[in-house]
């Protein structure tokens, strides 16, 4: 049984349907990526999975439980953590406080402290600046914080929305290396990216989204070598 199963999911903003019936699964331990252009419905899909948007129709099953109608604040308790588009760190709280909020529902103080130290090992720059307001960090550092914060709930599924957006090439590479490292530790990841090359190269499975539908699916390698994908998303002609 897959960890996450999305069946015929439809999501609308008012009368405009942004996601028009998509289905896909994520197996435990896999990295699955959704790629596609702006407005394809990738972010909408993630925001629906984490409960910020209500689906119009369809079924979302996570860890054997239908989670369609669960409020956003209860989803994280089920084991889904969402690192949102644009990073969305809490700018006027310190880095440590941001990480603590990621563990908001956990009660094990010792375990939380341990995980904060682990985040500082994964991202040493955050450890050096732990008492600074998070708003003072650079874009790449904020991305690290957003990912670290999402990991603080010890999720079964980590959803990353555009982790490389707006970052310098060096910082982008660092973020992708981190995702690879998380993958090797067995973290299940649903990755939304515009940087299709980077996403496909580390994904087990990929889905190409086009205006609210899944146009093409395959393993990361298959999609990377697919003619139409290469033309549309990898900048080759």
């Amino acid at each position: 049984m897959p960890l996450l199963e999305v069946e015929d999911l439809r999501v609308a903003y008012g009368k405009i349907e942004a996601v028009k019936g998509i289905s896909f699964t994520v197996e435990a331990g896999q990295v699955v990526t959704l790629i596609g252009t702006n407005g394809a419905g990738k972010t909408t899909t993630l925001r629906t999975l984490s409960g910020l948007l209500k689906p119009l129709a369809g079924k979302i099953t996570f860890d054997g439980e239908v989670i369609n109608d669960i409020g956003a604040h209860k989803i994280v308790a089920k084991g889904i953590a969402h690192s949102p588009e644009g990073r969305r760190i809490f700018p006027r709280l310190t880095i440590t406080e941001n990480l603590q909020l990621g563990a908001f529902l956990r009660k094990d103080a010792a375990g939380i402290q341990e995980d904060i130290e682990r985040a500082y090992t994964l991202f040493p720059i955050l450890g050096e600046r732990r008492s600074q307001a998070a708003g003072t960090l650079s874009g790449g550092e904020q991305q690290m914080l957003a990912m670290g914060r999402a990991l603080m709930s010890r999720p079964k599924l980590l959803m990353l929305d555009e982790p490389s957006m707006g970052l310098s090439p060096i910082m982008m590479q660092k973020i992708m290396e981190t995702i690879t490292e998380l993958k090797s530790q067995g973290t299940t990841i649903l990755l939304v990216e515009q940087n299709a090359q980077a996403a496909l190269s580390l994904a087990d499975h990929g889905h190409v989204m086009e205006i609210g539908t899944i146009a093409l699916s395959g393993t990361g390698q298959e999609l990377m070598h697919d003619e139409s994908v290469r033309k549309a998303y990898l900048g080759e002609d």
Partner: protein
Amino acid sequence: MNDLPQQLASGLILGAMYGLIAIGYTMVYGIVQLINFAHGEIVMFGAFGGLTAWLMLPKGTSLMLALPLMLVLAVGVSVLVGIGAERFAYRPLRNAPRLAPLITAIGLSIMLQQLIWSFYPDAKKARTFPQFSGESVHLLGANVQRGELFLLIAAPVCMIALGFFVAKTRTGRAMQATSQDPDTAKLMGINTDRIIVTAFAIGAAFGGVAAVAYGLKYGQIDFKIGFILGLKAFTAAVLGGIGNIYGAMVGGLVLGLAESLATAYIELIPGMELFGGGAWKNVWAFVLLILVLLVRPQGLLGERIADRA
């Protein structure tokens, strides 16, 4: 000018009361970006709650003994009205255009005033609020009424408690997160609906304390007191930087001092003889607001909008 200590004391006392009420505006605004214009009426309900407690007690009860019960009832009534307003007036409009909750707030104000006017016994005219008897207290060169002493104790206690709550408790941390980014706060597992109710409840509770302080200070209350109190406290909240709890208290104190000092001393300035005295105090309060906003649109302790992104 030899009554300066007296004027400073009056200003601080008045300002502490404005500050306590301003907390209600600023907390709600900080979380949901809504100006709860019915907050003055929530305070007014608290005052009638306090009065009711006093009237329920046997005649001859000492005010000192009655005060805790009056506070409990005042705070209780204010909190109930505050939570009710959130649940039934504002929550259904959470995603409506901003004008809708604003108009609702004004409607709610009128409704709350009319409820007291219509149903509270003898509330069509002012009702007497119990007073501490005895000499006023001499404090640093100023005479402070016994009823005003309550405010000088209650305001700092409330502020310290709130500062501790916001900075040190789990709910306080969740409150900060919700005010900075409500959607992301939900992703952390924070029940933002509950946080919003908490913000309304805390603001209303402070209003209840201020209501009892008002009654003790002025000796009478009526169904209209919420209007000007609310307007002044809102001014204090904006002056201090709306959304910032310390700003609310600072704004209140600055406003109280400005009113008190302008009332006493403006007429001493050559050419300003006509503008002194109590009749002009509201004018000076709003002149101060305009001047501060011209120089610091974000208020005394407010962040610039750019810092919030």
